[in-house]
């Protein structure tokens, strides 16, 4: 294991996830990976690439298309001394196996009064933007974050992805690791350049439950996660040209949710826009806004959200792109906010 940090070596999120996993597997024989096509193929989204070659079929297991069984099995293995990393290929597939996730993985620790640990990572891809339509493009962040007993992380860049992955593997609690396809750095899914950043070679943790201020600013707080962070950064740049200074908060983790960082930012700027690619209603955007105003509602303007409308995700790129959050929509929401007040 190399422990020299170069500070300049850039990785994609896919490679950062694989590296974190490989380092953990080298250190700890109880760590193993299972899921569909995680073996020789290296994961449809590249995040297990190289693992099967290095660790073999025992520790990197292709499974049948039986999510209920293999996620349930991960729970059983995790309670028996292993540290499984299990993949749900698309988060959209949660419907066939949510019971194993939210009723077993997330609750067994509570049901045992804390005596049974479930140290596992459920990694799953999120997001659209490449016309994969309504069963392969969802984010479903709130669907997971709403239900108690599992931590939920959503990295926006490779540095955080590696650190959060390492933290998730080391955590004695179940962690849902939601990676956005557009950030994976797989060319075929498009590539958000900002997600591919310098990543230290040695293993390190990024604390689960701490948001990051991705950009400091005085006039407006933009709160987002995953791919949305990059839209916010672009919007902040555009607003800068107009003379406004936006702060961008990257939540990184939904459970635990770092309300303090968000509140501190809004206390400073007085304005809040939440950007979320998950569905608009009963989701992340509502929670963030409520978390701010229940604490202090005296903002300079009514808070706003730029979220995915409450519609299934359409296939046609014209419709899909129109519905997706982007920098223009954020800028427009800010302009609207100024007009209203």
């Amino acid at each position: 294991m190399t422990t020299t940090s170069t500070g300049t070596r850039k990785l994609t999120i896919a490679r950062a996830m694989a590296e974190a996993t490989a380092q953990a597997m080298r250190e700890d024989p109880t760590v193993f990976v299972m899921g569909e096509d995680v073996g020789p193929l290296g994961g449809v989204f590249g995040n297990t690439r190289g693992l099967h070659e290095e660790f073999g079929s025992d520790r990197v297991r292709d499974t049948p298309i039986s999510e209920t069984a293999f996620i349930g099995a991960a729970v059983g293995a995790a309670s028996d001394g292993m540290r499984p990393i299990v993949e749900l290929m698309f988060v959209d597939f949660f419907g066939v196996c949510m019971d194993a996730i939210y009723n077993l993985m997330a609750k067994n620790t509570y049901f045992s009064g804390g005596r049974v640990k479930v140290p596992m990572v459920l990694m799953t891809s999120t997001g659209g933007g490449y016309s994969d339509a309504g069963q392969h493009s969802q984010c479903l962040y709130a669907t997971f974050a709403h239900l108690p007993g599992m931590k939920v992380v959503v990295p926006s860049n490779a540095h955080d992805a590696k650190g959060l992955m390492t933290a998730a593997i080391r955590d004695d609690n179940p962690v849902v690791f939601m990676y956005h396809k557009a950030l994976q750095g797989m060319g075929w899914l498009g590539t958000e350049k900002g997600a591919t950043v310098p990543v230290p070679e040695e293993a390190y943790s990024v604390e689960i439950g701490k948001a990051a201020v991705a950009r400091e600013g005085r006039d407006l707080t933009l709160v987002s996660l995953g791919a949305g962070v990059h839209h916010c950064l672009r919007a902040a740049k555009a607003l800068e040209a107009e003379g406004f200074d936006a702060e961008v908060v990257d939540l990184r983790s939904l459970v635990p949710l770092d309300r303090e960082t968000v509140r501190a930012s809004v206390a400073k700027t007085g304005r809040l826009i939440v950007v979320d690619e998950d569905y608009h209603s009963f989701g992340v955007s509502g929670e963030i806004i409520a978390s701010v105003v229940e604490h202090d509602h005296r903002l300079k303007a009514a808070p706003a959200r730029v979220a995915y409308p409450d519609i299934p995700i359409p296939f046609a790129p014209t419709m899909e792109q129109w519905a997706l959050p982007d920098a223009d929509k954020i800028v427009a929401a800010f302009h609207q906010m100024l007009r209203n007040h």
Partner: protein
Amino acid sequence: MHPTRDQRLWMYRQMVTSRYLEERIETLYMEGKTPVFNMAKGPIPGEMHLSNGQEPCAAGVCAHLGPEDIVTATHRPHHIAVAKGVDLDAMVAEIFGKATGLAGGRGGHMHLFDERVNFSCSGIIGEGLGPAVGAALSRKMQGKSGVAVAFMGEGAANQGAFHEALNLAAVWQLPVVFVIEDNAWGISVAKQASTAVPRNDSRAAAYGMPGMHVADNDVDGVFAAAGEAIARARDGQGPSLIEIETARLAGHFMGDGEDYRPEGEKAGLEARDPIPRYRRALLEAGLLDAAADAGLVDEAHERVEAAIRFAQDSDFLPAEAALDAVFV
């Protein structure tokens, strides 16, 4: 595979203990629930699923298991928990919701976890199967001994989890045994109204694993079948499926009017109650005499009474403890 004298007595003791435990629970459960039956009332609130009549399934299987072996059970878990050696005091205290319970009262009777003997259960049909497969995988990967046994009702054999778990266990040739307690009912729905085949052991063929059937709620028959299946698992020969014809002597849960039962069914089942039958068999085989039986029964009762006293004497956790133990 025939049980030894000690094994037969051990099984008998488990059955007697579980039965008495549930008789006592039945009484205690009803406290505060008359004249108006309200689940929220009394010292044991919530749903209560008794396993009266199904004790042979638990005793016959667990006779082959040690503390290191893994068992996942269902919403109807008491007989299995008893036979698996779950700490009786902590278990009863959990059923009462007390601080000294297995989970400090957070779980209740459908969520009994005793990691010391690798026992757990859950309230969703078919939910224990995946975890059993995973625990078996864990043992195989770690090169540790131990088999996993997943118990379920015959109704669970129609749930998707059944299919996925059996297939996965078979593909990976894991040391796991699937045990179906066929009590002929899933709540009010009869097996033949919900299951396309008369016997679920025939479904084993769909996974290339041995399927075994035990007729007539016969504990020695369970012992024999489970012995074979567990030996195969320990020997690295992969999973098996067993279906046991058993009987639910009580309602689905307490409060169930059982109007859906055909006339006479209940009386017939009671006449075939497996515990008196086994007692007679042991007496006839000379493995037990009346005095030894009385001693064994008394001892079992005293263990249960002690556990109940322990539970009753225990305090509740402070209410705010509800917030603890979500994460470790």
